[in-house]
């Protein structure tokens, strides 16, 4: 399926992605971001939603919840100019699932 990619978040990131034909919305308002995220999740033409870290870190519970509910679109937190996503490292995720150290 040919699907869209959409970026939510920091202005620079949205600008950079729009140079390569990826649509996006610049916002630093958490409520606006959540609203947009939910609109995109309901849109079957969207395949991947990228959320920049500053805003993603503020709405992390919502993102985790949506990831658990929906198979598509995929949601990915990405670094913005100044910060990195504060998500649990994959290794920790797997460690918790296994209940042992790896």
């Amino acid at each position: 399926m040919e699907l869209k990619v959409f970026v939510i978040g920091e202005r620079d990131t949205v600008l950079g992605f729009s140079l390569i034909g990826v649509d996006g919305m610049a916002t630093d308002d958490a409520d606006v971001a959540v609203q947009k995220l939910d609109d995109l999740l309901a849109d079957p033409s969207v395949g991947i939603v990228l959320v920049t870290s500053e805003i993603a870190n503020r709405i992390m519970p919502v993102i985790e919840n949506r990831k658990a509910l929906a198979t598509l679109p995929l949601i990915l937190e990405i670094p913005d100019r100044l910060s990195r996503p504060a998500k649990a490292p994959l290794r920790d995720l797997v460690r918790r699932a296994l209940g042992v150290s790896i």
Partner: protein, 209 residues
Amino acid sequence: MPQGSVPPTRAVLLQARRDLAFAREAHDLLDRKRQALIAHVLSMLEDAEDLERRLERQFTTAYEALGRARMSMGVERVGWVALSTAKETRVNVTERSIMGVPLPVVEVEPRELRLQYSLSGTTASVDRAVRAFGEVLSLACRVAETETTVWRLAREIRKTQRRVNALANVLIPEYASIVAQVEGALEEREREDFYRVKAVKRMRRKEGR
């Protein structure tokens, strides 16, 4: 199942034996599923982490390239280029299934190197920014795929583990106890019958003499 709540009949025993065998089989299957999922997630983990690190580095490169483009061309003109670019980039997202877990497969359509902006008004630094973000996109798609995969596998492992535990710690002991209980009761009854028959025979023999 509370003790003594089942009638000690042969039918109950047969049913309980069937349940026990079924629960054991389910336990083995789920345990094997769990092991397969674990093997899969462990085999992916290093690659996934490596991709994450590469994506982060590529983002740094891309933001730098964007910064330089804005310095050489001005913020506004980069904005115009961005606006004039058709938002037509698409990715191909399909699904595959491992042990019943739906996992995404993402492919970026190879971008045609068609310039969407006029060369006269732009500088080479814009081209570099475009290329850098193109790299970011293809890496981001792969990271979205691997991260989601690890995430879903981890969740499925936890779910399977809970089921394996429930079978091993609750259901299997429960069925085993019913089987033992009913078997014991039936044996007890058989012994009673045996001695009763013996007693009757003994009495008849006495009377016969």
